[in-house]
């Protein structure tokens, strides 16, 4: 505690500190010499893993976690690896000489591979870089033919072959990938010339104010955020500026002329000055704005891992973090600092010693009104410290200061305590994720949980979710799902046991999708287990896709129907249709009426013939008959129509529907009759109903033919009489009508004659029939022709009160007085009765 500043070095206005994160336990015989090493940086827009990897004599690939215990060793059997790298989701990329990129997961199992282009095969990859951008993980290579190829996102692979660089022979001196204007570009140095390569062009650029002594750029590096660029020249100068090469920040002479092994920006958000860390074999140099530099001696071969808020230095024995001291830490710990935070820390120390000086310090802060500021500083500084003891001291001081403040919002303090607890847990040697607080905030808890899940640290992940009260759906449930997916891959345990263990553990968790777990199980070749797991899935709809995949189509169909989602049913039906032979398919449908009617609907519009087959299969003769009847109406030609109807008759007979068969037969007869008449008389008749045919015939005066039809088709007398009556009246053929009326006794009575005549405004004719109307309807008939007297006579004769009232209601003031009186009298006598 007392020596917090012991590892601080001043550079310009700021201090830099190098803190040890872990002692490396990786017992390397040869150190880091002669191997490829890629540490996943963490930072950038998405979090990455901090794993180190080395390739020993190109035989083994080892994956380490940062605290360096061997996580996994993997024997390398493939081609010569040029470069290793990590993707944003913790997958290892091995870029081979021939341009093939192999992807392995954290546990060394092969995931997939892709190629950087065919032309790479001959010219070979000379150098490769893995980079991260908002679009994912990218890969850039340069071939022996000096051509660059670039893929911005390996998950959505689009290879871009960049234009040629003029004058470049063999490998360039140095290069880097930039992300600018939503595009990945390559910055190449060839001797003293600098070019920017984008998808379409190669542009020569000049860094403003580059010292004239330099004849060649030997090394370059881009900052974590792609905003800054540093160039190292053969004259030993370091040029620092913006990545778009429009602005120069500073230039420092290092007095070292041989090219550095590695170079990295060392910045943090709200940094005070630009600074770059340059590493030679045993020498590390931090350069900033001014002439001063900080120089460290390295004991061993090391690599630099740039981070968003510093640089990690990894070597055979140590793992250190070099960063600019954050402002809050500097204020508090700087020697003789009078910042409020420093005073508060002091006050708390005195308080613990039970000294009254505590009060003095406190007063001093309070008088300046800076107590809230002091608390804030302490809390913030605690976040930046690695040592748990220092964190505790600072937090205690903050808590002490808070007591003297009213209205100080507690969230800041509470959240920091929580964050630190989580951070300390993951920084632990066994977990080995040395996140700084700034990185943690950037990467979010979600991503951290993901990373723990990738490493199969399920208990820790669940603990963290519970501790941070992450909503179940995003937290515990998600972890459990991953756990279950991992569990189903354990080949040594039986299906029974695994299914039971999983259901026991997942039983109550919300938002678990058993179908996902089952899918995983199926992918591992455990179909039985998958089916067992699916049974736990409450939403039947979710089970369907997997069941189909597992070829349990019958089960899938019933589950789909159970879900009530017709789309799903339809999906299964289409699938079955393609998978099964027709007979089996129809049989399956037959047992599932819902699916059957759905499929029928589809066939009605798309496949009429299939529909027929369906009915055939079911021996559904009734429907087949209907089908043919319908088909007959689509036919224009009479013969085809009749043929269809004949088929319909056969089917109806099979269905024992005599009625339908008979009617259809009659229709065939009618059609033929119509056709014949059409040809003879030129009247358009085909397709008319019997009734309409008759009416047309009567209307054009083809009475003979009408009679024939009437007899042939056993048209009821009533219908025929009505038809003829109206037809004749319409033609106003009163003579014929009279003849017709006298031909024989009307089956519909004679009231219709009266009414129809009246309707055609011929009262004269109407009156002819009144006398023949039956007594019951006489009144109506008389009224229809407007004969009040006659109506009254008829009604009185029948002594019907109701009829008399009807007549009375029809009487108007102009009606004969005497008549009205007569009616009234009759009404009263009728009523008396």
């Amino acid at each position: 505690m007392a020596f917090v500043t012991a590892n601080w070095n001043p550079l310009g206005e700021a201090f830099y500190r190098k803190t040890e994160l872990y002692e490396m336990g990786w017992n390397l015989k040869d150190g880091l010499r002669d191997c490829l090493l890629a540490a996943a940086p963490y930072g950038g827009p998405i979090g990455k893993s901090e794993l180190t990897i080395s390739l020993f004599k190109k035989i083994y690939i080892h994956i380490f976690i940062t605290s360096s215990c061997i996580f996994l060793s993997l024997q390398w059997k493939s081609g010569v690896v040029r470069q290793l790298g990590w993707t944003v989701c913790d997958d290892l990329l091995c870029i081979q000489e021939d341009g093939t990129v192999l992807i392995y997961d954290l546990f060394g199992s092969f995931k997939r591979h892709f190629s950087m282009g065919n032309e790479v095969g001959q010219s070979q990859v000379v150098e490769a870089k893995v980079f991260h951008s908002p679009y994912g993980t990218g890969v850039a290579i340069v071939t022996g033919a000096s051509r660059f190829t670039l893929a911005t996102n390996i998950d959505d692979l689009k290879l871009r072959r960049l234009p040629e660089v003029p004058g470049l022979q063999g490998a360039p001196t140095c290069w880097a990938v930039l992300t600018q204007d939503r595009q990945s570009k390559v910055l190449v140095a060839n001797g003293g010339d600098l070019f920017i390569l984008d998808y379409t062009a190669c542009t020569a650029v000049n860094p403003p104010g580059l010292s004239p002594q330099a004849s060649s750029i030997v090394h370059m590096c881009v900052s974590f955020s792609y905003k800054y660029l540093a160039l190292f020249t053969d004259s030993g100068h370091v040029w620092m500026g913006s990545a778009n090469l429009k602005e120069k920040l500073s230039e420092v002479e290092t007095k070292v002329r041989n090219p550095p092994k590695q170079m990295a920006w060392c910045r943090r958000p709200k940094s005070r000055q630009p600074s770059v860390v340059i590493m030679w074999d045993r020498h590390l140099l931090v350069v900033g704005e001014g002439k001063d530099t900080i120089s460290y001696h390295l004991e061993d071969d090391s690599i630099l891992v740039p981070e968003m808020d510093g640089v990690r230095i990894i070597n055979g024995t140590n793992h250190e973090l070099l960063q600019e001291v954050p402002a809050s830490c500097e204020e508090i710990f700087k020697i003789a600092s009078m910042a409020p935070g420093a005073l508060l820390l002091e006050a708390h120390k005195e308080y613990e010693k039970e000294s009254q000086k505590a009060d003095e310090y406190l007063r001093e802060i309070k008088e300046q009104g800076l107590l809230a500021e002091a608390v804030r500083q302490c809390v913030e500084a605690a976040g930046h410290e690695q040592e748990a003891e220092t964190q505790k001291t600072l937090l205690r001081a903050a808590s002490f200061g808070k007591c003297f403040l009213s209205n100080f919002p507690p969230e800041l303090f509470v959240i920091m305590c929580r964050d630190l607890r989580v951070l300390n847990a993951v920084r632990d040697y066994t977990v080995g994720i040395p996140l700084t607080h700034t990185q943690f905030k950037q990467m979010t808890v979600q991503v951290l949980i993901d990373r723990l899940v990738y490493r199969k640290l399920y208990p820790l992940a669940i603990e963290i979710c519970r501790y941070l009260k992450t909503p179940e759906y995003q937290g515990v449930s998600r972890v459990l799902k991953h756990w279950a997916c991992c569990k189903v891959q354990q080949k040594e345990e039986s299906d029974e046991v695994i299914a039971r263990t999983i259901s026991l553990k997942l039983g109550e968790a919300a938002g678990i999708s058993y179908s996902e777990i089952a899918t995983k199980a199926y992918e591992c070749g455990r179909t039985e287990l998958a089916i067992k797991l699916l049974e736990f899935e409450p939403r039947s709809g979710e089970q369907v896709p997997l069941l189909l995949k597992m070829k349990r189509s019958q089960l899938a169909l019933s589950k789909a129907i159970e879900s009530g989602d017709t789309d799903l049913v339809y999906t299964v039906v289409t699938y079955l249709k393609n998978e099964m032979n027709r007979g089996d398919f129809f049989m399956t449908l037959r047992n599932q009426p819902v699916a059957l009617s759905l499929y029928r609907q589809f066939c009605k519009h798309q496949e009429q013939d299939t529909l027929k087959d369906l009915f055939n299969q079911d021996d559904d003769h009734q429907e087949l008959g209907n089908f043919y009847v319908k088909a007959s109406y689509k036919e224009k030609r009479l013969e085809a129509r009749v043929a269809h109807l004949q088929s319909a008759v056969d089917e109806y007979n099979k269905a024992k529907n005599e009625f339908a068969a008979k009617t259809t037969e009659e229709e065939m007869r009618l059609l033929r009759f119509q056709k014949k008449l059409e040809e003879e008389k030129g009247e358009s008749l085909v397709g008319f109903s019997l009734h309409d045919t008759l009416r047309t015939l009567l209307a054009v005066g083809l009475h003979k033919h009408a009679e024939q039809l009437y007899k042939d088709f056993k048209v009821p007398d009533k219908r025929f009489w009505w038809l003829k009556l109206t037809a004749l009246a319409e033609k106003e053929d009163w003579e014929e009508l009279e003849k017709f009326a006298k031909s024989k006794k009307s089956p519909i009575g004679y009231l219709p004659f009266v009414e129809v005549c009246v309707k055609h405004h011929n009262k004269y004719e109407a009156k002819k029939y009144v006398s023949r109307v039956t007594p019951e309807q006489k009144v109506k008939a008389h009224l229809a022709v407007g004969d009040m007297e006659g109506a009254a006579d008829a009604a009185i004769e029948r002594r019907n009160e109701g009829e008399i009232s009807t007549i009375l209601s029809r009487c108007s003031p102009t009606t004969d007085r005497a008549l009205v009186e007569r009616l009234n009298r009759a009404k009263s006598t009728a009523a008396k009765k």
């Binding site: 009530g564 789309d567 339809y570 009426p593 109903s689 219908r719």
Partner: protein, 617 residues
């Protein structure tokens, strides 16, 4: 009549929100296809769309020209085509043809299909089959509910009826469930859900599933109770002639999407006029639920009032005149216009309906409902068919006969069918097959009717078992035993008593006092009993599938008393008639409820039967 209701009836929720939501989503979808585009709209979406977003709104979002989908080659010259359609296979196939034609002609266009209310896998399958899946983009416009009035919301899915009840195609169930979910999320949570019918049950389950997916909301409920009912629970009511004004207007002029087009015979000019029929129309609002016999009296009274209001101007000084002109005149003029339209419509209805034919038709219907003089009815129907009076009406009477008599006698069944086919053509063989499948027009069990059999068996066993047998027999009959139902539920008021249609005493007034609509009676009974207890036999006769579920929300006492508990949402699956809505309004006034009717579509006897015709290829 309107005044007799209870004063404390709760306020209805504001459904205009549904329109706003639909419009915003549509605009969003249109913007997804930036630039000028031509829009093709399914014919039956035109009117609903007009209620959501008018042409100006569409033009604002870069819609160039509007076309109706006609399944013919298109003439559009635009580079972007947008199709707003119902998810139907024929339409999608047509679009594929359009795309393929363009391809063959080497023409490059962008295509977007907006399915409403949702897309079906079958549609995408067609796109895939026709090889245009990659050429079009598909979207869904979740336009489930169109508020037609303050208390009527329609899904505007007339095909629901045929597809669900005839074809057994349940693909719209999810849409109905989605509609219910939308209402639930905006106006729920519901405290109790009742229902009857297989489809109702499925809709309920579909809704529950969708709710579980999303999050439960805890808001002040605006709708307390929900009643789901299948159309096939009660076919009789929609098959009766409507005699309440709104129903009559629908029967004669066909109300489309809440508005009606009055032709020249109503407007007494040579133009047709489109009128919105809803509660905004003051004249209409007062007569819509009235029995037609009262409408004329009311309208003439209204005309007199209007005249008095106009007459006020006499003897006014300048100031008063100014105030009159600025404040009242416009309203009066508006009222005047509407009044003359409704008078015209009523006259037109009178002309058609006071004819003797109609009186006799009504008489026959009432006899059928009462089960009185059935033979006369049969001969009336026969004559009706023979004289080819009306294709649909004849069919309607046949169905009513079958439904009330539990099937036709075999002799009648054959002869009436044969005569019908002679009148209207053999293609109706398919129509009859459909009607039979639906149980609308069936043959009585050959030999003995169930009742005869029942009495015979009843003699052989003791009384107690006979009762059980009755139940067994009634459940044997596939469809309702209407006589028994009407006896138990007292659907037919005692005849002989004078029924004053001006002061109705029950819901029967909507059918001139002859019949209380079964569907509405069920709703009344279930609400009264708070469930199906005591109605077991009735549900058995109706083929069961009844349910009553408490909404799970902690229904404390205070909540039950809340206003929302007296707001009842009734969802008709397969359509409902204006008469039923009138009956529910009446019931609401009597019992202090407010009913909100949600229906898959407004129907009437004509639409219902036309949906089952199969006479055109």
């Amino acid at each position: 009549m309107a005044q007799s209701g209870r004063r404390d009836a709760p306020e209805l929720p504001d459904f205009s929100l549904l329109k706003r939501l639909a419009r915003d989503q549509l605009i969003y979808l249109l913007e997804q296809l930036p630039g000028r585009k031509d829009l093709f709209i399914d014919a039956d979406l035109m009117s609903p769309l007009d209620r959501i977003a008018n042409v100006t709104t569409l033009k604002q979002h870069e819609v160039d020209k509007l076309y109706k989908v006609e399944l013919k080659p298109i003439v559009s010259t635009a580079d972007q085509l947008c199709f707003l359609i119902r998810p139907r296979i024929q339409t999608v196939k047509w679009i594929s043809d359009v795309v393929n034609l363009d391809k063959a002609a080497g023409r490059l266009r962008r295509y977007k299909i907006i399915f409403t209310p949702q897309k079906f896998y079958a549609c995408e399958a067609v796109l895939e089959e026709q090889g245009v899946f990659g050429d079009v983009t598909c979207d869904e416009w979740a336009f489930y509910l169109l508020p037609l009035d303050d208390d009527i919301i329609s899904l505007e899915l007339p095909e629901f009826f045929r597809e669900n009840f005839l074809e057994g195609d349940q693909r719209w169930v999810g849409a109905a469930g989605g509609a219910l979910r939308l209402i639930h999320s905006l106006y729920g949570p519901f405290s109790k859900v009742y229902g009857i019918g297989q489809c109702a049950k499925m809709v309920y389950e579909s809704w529950r599933e969708q709710v579980e997916d999303g999050e439960q909301k805890t808001q002040q409920p605006e709708i307390g109770n929900v009643f789901l009912i299948d159309r096939d629970v009660d076919f009789i009511t929609p098959l009766c002639s409507q005699v309440v004004y709104e129903g009559l207007v629908d029967d004669i002029f066909r109300i489309k999407c809440g508005s009606v087009e009055f032709g020249p015979e109503v407007t007494s000019s040579d133009k047709s006029i489109k009128v919105m029929l809803n509660s905004q129309d003051k004249v209409f609002n007062e007569i819509r639920n009235e029995h037609f016999s009262n409408v004329f009296g009311f309208l003439s009274q209204k005309a007199r009032n209007l005249q008095t209001a106009y007459d006020k101007r006499r003897g006014m000084d300048i100031q008063q005149m100014k105030a009159f002109v600025s404040e009242e005149l416009k309203g009066l003029k508006q009222e005047h216009r509407l009044l003359s339209l409704h008078i015209g419509a009523s006259e037109c209805i009178m002309k058609k309906k006071t004819k003797q034919d109609f009186q006799e038709l009504l008489k026959t219907e009432h006899s059928l409902l009462e089960g009185f003089e059935v033979r006369e009815c049969v001969s009336f129907i026969e004559e009706h068919i023979n004289r080819q009076i009306s294709m649909i009406d004849s069919l309607r009477l046949l169905c009513l006969l079958s439904l009330t008599e539990n099937g036709l006698l075999p002799k009648d069944y054959r002869s009436l069918k044969a005569q019908y086919l002679q009148s209207y053509g053999i293609e109706h063989l398919l129509t009859f097959s459909n009607l039979k499948q639906m149980g609308l027009l069936v043959e009585q069990q050959p030999g003995e009717t169930l009742t005869v059999m029942e009495s015979k068996v009843g003699k052989l066993v003791n009384d107690k078992t006979a009762g059980k047998l009755t139940d067994a027999f009634s459940s044997l009959a596939k469809k309702s035993n209407f006589r028994a139902l009407s006896k138990r539920l007292v659907l037919i008021p005692k005849s002989g008593e004078e029924y004053d249609l001006r002061v109705p005493r029950d819901m029967a007034y909507i059918f001139s006092g002859a019949y209380v609509p079964l569907s509405c009676k069920l709703i009344e009974q279930v609400l009264e009993r708070d469930g199906w207890t005591g109605l077991e036999e009735i549900t058995r006769m109706l083929n069961g599938h009844e349910f009553a579920v408490s909404g799970g929300a902690n229904g404390t006492e205070s909540r039950i008393k809340a206003d929302s508990q007296r707001i009842v949402l009734v969802m008709f699956l397969g359509g409902c008639t204006y008469s039923e809505i009138s009956a529910l309004r009446f019931l609401g006034r009597e019992r202090g409820y407010k009913f909100i009717v949600v229906t898959t579509a407004i129907t009437n006897s004509g639409r219902l039967l036309e949906a089952l015709l199969d006479n055109h290829p």
